[in-house]
Amino acid sequence: MEQTNPLRPDGESKGGVLAHLERLETQMSKSCKQSEEPQSVQAQEGALGTKIHKLRRLRDELRAAVRHRQASVKASIANVEPNLAVEMSEQEVLEEKLENVKAVLQAYRFTGLSGKLTSRGVCVCISTAFEGTLLDSYFVDLVIQKPLQIHHHSVPVFIPLEEIAAKYLQTNIQHFLFSLCEYLNAYSGRKYQADRLQSDFAALLTGPLQRNPLCNLLSFTYKLDPGGQSFPFCARLLYKDLTATLPTDVTVTYQGVEPLSTSWEEQRASHETLFCTKPLHQVFASFARKGEKLDMSLVS
C-alpha cells in the first residue's frame, strides 16, 4: 500500500485527500470482498482483524484531515482579522470625535448664541433668558453674499431689526448679533415679568393688565389688601431703554377722591421706587408677603 501523504499543500489537497480516501476505500472494499470469500473461520478472523486495523487507520487519517482543514480555515480568518481591527479603530476614533463635536455644538446654546451652517450662509439662533429662567429662542438666517442679507428670521416685528442691521450688519456681524441679543433678551425679560404678574398675582390686580406688544409700556391698578376698603393704586411703567428690563419712568397714582394720608403717601412713593429698581413680579411677591404679615398681625 502506498503511503501517500494526504496533506499535500493547497490546491492539490482536495484532490489529494479525497483521492487518497477513495484509494483507501477501494482497498477496503477489495479487502472486504476478499474477506467475503469463503475462508476458514480463523482465516476470516484474521482477515477481520486486518480489516479493522485498516479501517481504524483510514478513520484516523480522515479525522486528521478534517482537523487540518478546520485549522487552516481558522488561520485564514485570523489573517484577515488584524487588518480589520486597524480599520475599525480608525473608524471608532472618527466616531468618537464626531460625537464630541456634536456635543460641543449643542453646548453653544448656553452662551446665548449658536447656529448652523447652511448652504447659503449661516442660521444663527439667539437664546433669551431672564434671571436664570430660560425663555424663547429666535433665529436669523443670513445669506453670505455682498451685501450680507437676512434671508428670513423669527424676530418679532416690533423689535427694530432693520435699524440694527443698517448700523452693523455689513461692517461687523458680531456687533449686529450681540446688539440684537440685547434687544431680544430685554424684550423677553419684560414680557416674562408682565406674564408672571398676570398669572401669579391676579388677586392683587383690580383690573386687567394693559400692555403693548413690545412690553415697554405697562399700565395696571392694584391693591395691597384686596378685600380692604382702600382705593387702588394706579401704576404706569415706561421702559424707554429697549435694552433694559427695568422701567425708566414710573408713576404711581392714587385713584381716590380724598387726599392720601401721610402713611399712604409714603407707601405710594416707595412703590414708585420699588418698581424702578426691582423686577415687576418680585415687587408683587414682596407685596403678597407683606399682606401675609398684615394678616398675621390681625390674628394676634
Binding site: V41, G49, L94, A107, F110, T111, E131, T133
Partner: protein, 288 residues
C-alpha cells in the same frame, strides 16, 4: 467475531461521516458558504466602513467648521460638554400630568488666556399649560484666579444664575484685556526708556518716567470694570508723582487738575492718542 463485525460497521459509518465532513468543509480559498459568507460579510463591512469613514470624515469636517465659526462669533471656545438627565417626576405628579426633569450640565473651555469650567443644573417642569426651564444651580471655576475684577463678576453671575451674561461679559472683558495688553506693549516698544510696566504687559498700570526729570512720574491706571448688568467698560485714571518743590512752583495747579484733564483728554483723543500725548509731554526734552 460479532464484536469485531460490529466494530467494522461502526468504523465504516464513522469513515463515511468523516468523508462527508471533508467534502462539506471548504478550504478558505474555496467559494463556498459558511466561512465565505462570514468572510464576505467582513469584506462588506469594511467596504461600507470605508464608505462611512469617508462620510464620517466629511461630516466631521463640516461640523468642525461650524464649531470654528461659533467660536469666532461668540469669542468662546468650548472644548468639552457632557450632560446627565434625571427624571424627578413622582407618581403624584404623573397623575396631574406634570413632569419634572433635572439636567446636569458640565462644560469647559477657554476664552483666550482664561479657562473656565462650568457645572450647572437646569430644572424643567412641564405641566398642561407650559414648559418652564430654569437654571437652579451654577458653579463657575476660572483660571487665572488673580483678576479681582473677574472674581467679583463671577460670583455675581453665579448668584444670578445668568449663563448668557457670564459668557458675553467674559468675551468683552477678555477683548479689553487683550487690547490693553497690546496698547501697553506698543508703548513699551516705542518708548522703552520712558515706559515701565511693573507686572509686564498684563499689568493694569503703566508708569511713565523721564530720565531727564527724575522724581516725576505719571501712572496710568487702566481698569476693566464689569457693572451690575454685565456691561464691560474701561476706566482709566491718571496718578501723578511730583517732587514737593515742583508742586510749590505749580501756580496754575496743573498737577492738581491733571487727573481731571486726563479724563477730558481721553474723551477727545481716545485712549491711545491720550497716552501717547502724555508720554510725549513728559519726555519732551528727549524727543525734542
Amino acid at each position: 467475531m460479532d464484536t469485531e463485525l460490529a466494530e467494522v460497521r461502526a468504523l465504516q459509518a464513522e469513515i463515511a461521516a468523516l468523508r462527508r465532513a471533508c467534502e462539506d468543509q471548504p478550504a478558505p480559498w474555496e467559494e463556498k458558504s459558511g466561512v465565505q459568507k462570514s468572510f464576505q460579510a467582513i469584506q462588506q463591512f469594511s467596504s461600507e466602513g470605508w464608505k462611512s469613514s469617508k462620510d464620517l470624515k466629511s461630516q466631521l469636517g463640516h461640523l468642525e467648521s461650524e464649531l470654528s465659526f461659533l467660536s469666532t462669533l461668540t469669542g468662546i471656545n468650548i472644548r468639552n460638554y457632557s450632560k446627565q438627565t434625571e427624571d424627578l417626576t413622582g407618581t403624584e405628579m404623573t397623575e396631574k400630568s406634570i413632569r419634572k426633569v433635572l439636567q446636569r450640565h458640565r462644560l469647559s473651555g477657554n476664552c483666550h488666556m482664561v479657562t473656565f469650567q462650568l457645572e450647572f443644573q437646569i430644572l424643567e417642569i412641564q405641566n398642561k399649560e407650559r414648559l418652564s426651564s430654569a437654571v437652579t444651580d451654577l458653579n463657575i471655576i476660572m483660571e487665572p484666579t488673580e483678576c479681582s475684577e473677574l472674581s467679583e463678576f463671577v460670583s455675581r453671575a453665579e448668584e444670578r444664575k445668568d449663563l448668557f451674561m457670564f459668557f458675553r461679559s467674559l468675551h468683552f472683558f477678555v477683548e479689553w484685556f487683550e487690547y490693553r495688553k497690546r496698547t501697553f506693549e506698543h508703548f513699551k516698544e516705542k518708548y522703552p526708556e520712558a515706559v515701565h510696566l511693573s507686572e509686564g504687559p498684563s499689568s493694569p498700570s503703566m508708569v511713565i518716567r523721564s530720565a531727564s526729570q527724575p522724581g516725576f512720574e505719571l501712572v496710568i491706571v487702566w481698569r476693566i470694570q464689569i457693572d451690575e448688568d454685565g456691561k464691560v467698560f474701561p476706566k482709566l485714571d491718571l496718578l501723578t508723582k511730583v517732587p514737593q518743590r515742583a508742586l510749590e512752583l505749580d501756580k496754575n495747579r496743573a498737577i492738581e487738575t491733571a487727573p481731571l484733564s486726563f479724563r477730558t483728554l481721553l474723551g477727545v483723543l481716545g485712549i491711545e492718542a491720550a497716552l501717547e500725548s502724555l508720554i510725549k509731554s513728559l519726555c519732551a526734552e528727549q524727543n525734542g
